[in-house]
Symmetry: C2
Subunit: 364 residues, 2 copies
Amino acid sequence: SNMFKVAVVGGEGIGPEVTAQSHRVLKWFAANRGVPVTMREAQYGIIPYLATGKVLPEDTVEAMEEADAILWGATGGPETKEVPPAARKAGSLLSMRRKYDLYANLRPIVASPALADSAPLKAEVLRGVDFVIIRELTSGIYFGEPRGIETLADGQRRGFNTEQYTTNQIRRVARAAFELARTRKGKVCSVDKANVLETSVLWREEVIALHKQEFSDVELNHLYVDNAAMQIVREPRQFDVMVTGNIFGDILSDCAAMASGSLGMLPSASLGPVDKFGRRKALYEPVHGSAPDIAGKGIANPLGSILSVAMMLRLTLDRPDDADLLEKAVDTALANGARTADIAEAGATRLSTEQMGDAVLSAL
Amino acid sequence: SNMFKVAVVGGEGIGPEVTAQSHRVLKWFAANRGVPVTMREAQYGIIPYLATGKVLPEDTVEAMEEADAILWGATGGPETKEVPPAARKAGSLLSMRRKYDLYANLRPIVASPALADSAPLKAEVLRGVDFVIIRELTSGIYFGEPRGIETLADGQRRGFNTEQYTTNQIRRVARAAFELARTRKGKVCSVDKANVLETSVLWREEVIALHKQEFSDVELNHLYVDNAAMQIVREPRQFDVMVTGNIFGDILSDCAAMASGSLGMLPSASLGPVDKFGRRKALYEPVHGSAPDIAGKGIANPLGSILSVAMMLRLTLDRPDDADLLEKAVDTALANGARTADIAEAGATRLSTEQMGDAVLSAL
Ligand SMILES: CC(C)[C@H](C(=O)O)[C@@H](O)C(=O)O
Ligand SMILES: CC(C)[C@H](C(=O)O)[C@@H](O)C(=O)O
């Protein structure tokens, strides 16, 4: 069949609240625009843990296995401490990234003019900001072995982790960056710490080699990670596509969040390899986490999750026009003054999570 | 004798230019305020390399060995490529940090109201920003073994580095943070990635244990490094003392540079352990690097280096009043409109490096 399958997994904290709204939006596209998609809801976290002893129960595993795309909420609610670390680790977001080999994590950073007032950066610095961070998501120090905490001969303890990248791991994510740049402004900035780390020396060599072999039409430059963090704040509009490893991407994308105005606005897509049928597993999630402090209050910003549906329309469902339509609807809602608490100026009316969903749907 | 010895090493790139000005300032304090200090100039980089085959020749090693404090410029000029990597590595900044065990790198981030206009952050976000990042400087992934690039059985290559911290390494830098916080607003924020890295789990455990044992009067909180990067941009005034490991500190301090208005303004101190005579080797340097693009033009901002002399007055020379005097002179010069190119608004007069030195000296 040519129906796409989407697993909808709200997860924990504010995850279920924001995902309820993005799920409504996806249903709207199925019903009103004929987007060929079936949706299956599944649970993650404390609720299935109490019922089944697993944070990621069989039913959810099955839903995710058969899915082309996963619409993911967040993990790590306030109830996290009730779940023992081993049970949590077995079904963690990190283990899923690895299991589905979701190596290319795309995090677009787009400054919305409507939010310039509530952003910490000056309006003239934000103007025209539109870039994508591609973070490698299946290797690096997140997964490197050996790792652990050992006791030394003198009675001290020592913690250790391994940062690592292989040639192929570097090349495939660099390829994703070059290909994306070709559809945009044609510029890639690769970020590493090659003045200190051998891992980064190899990273830089391989990016340069691939560029020379296949992508010499794309403009390539390199920044050290410390400088990149500064440049993202100083002059974010210089970037088009930025590609980097797992831990650097983690830090830089949160830093860049402020160049968009608010973390609550940011979507992401995590893409696996293309299989022999041309399919590619993908997980879509807002960049914000579970935000335990505001969970259950119905005030979280659902736009990060809703804009993740726009990425799904573009990257999995092959509906670029519908993706544009949804992004425009979000712009319209914002231009009409729709604001959740995180993006509201002092004194302005604050919409609930659901009301923000309404605002986007009525703009559609 | 109760004279302090200072080695003045300008180094490469803009290092000699900015150090010439901070050296003048230190001489002023010796001559006019009776600060008991002798200064010995020494060379580093391409010039001694061409003469002696070493970037760090014997004479410079000797000057640094006998010094209580080193006033350091920068390494890595445009001529770097003429020096073979092995010769460069032997005398690198990293090897000196290690040799003198300069484990506590203090990077104060203070927003100067005079610079609010040229900063990327909004004036209301910058107002009142005044915190210190303490970066561990002798361990972590910078120095961890094993490290290298190996060829795998399938012909791929793999780069690897080791992130690591021992109990003692964590405790001594955390102690520096708690002690500093007691002289300030009494708040420490420890930054790690304990949700992913065992090294960070140990880091957090040890910081908590030390806090409980000896510093429970200090307020302690913890942030994940990604969140810390965002908070530094979003609301930098929430911080008093931030303590973190080597690579996270490298990234966060450049990110924080923008919360001060300009990288060119930032001083740093790197402190070693206190010996049995109560002495403590220290290296003072601006946070900016060698800036090869503007080297030799006489336009670099010397304030990062001059403010490093203020840190030296406070931390090595035990002259807090003179440190205050110098910091006030810098404020006065800025308030009078003195601007080098990096902090000048469009159309404003730009001082040369030397003229900025003059402006500070005439404010003294
Ligand atoms: C929750 C955490 C493990 C995760 C990460 O570090 O990758 C998060 O920060 C992210 O960016 O998705
Ligand atoms: C030049 C480089 C090795 C150095 C570092 O990474 O420590 C620099 O970025 C710094 O922050 O002092």
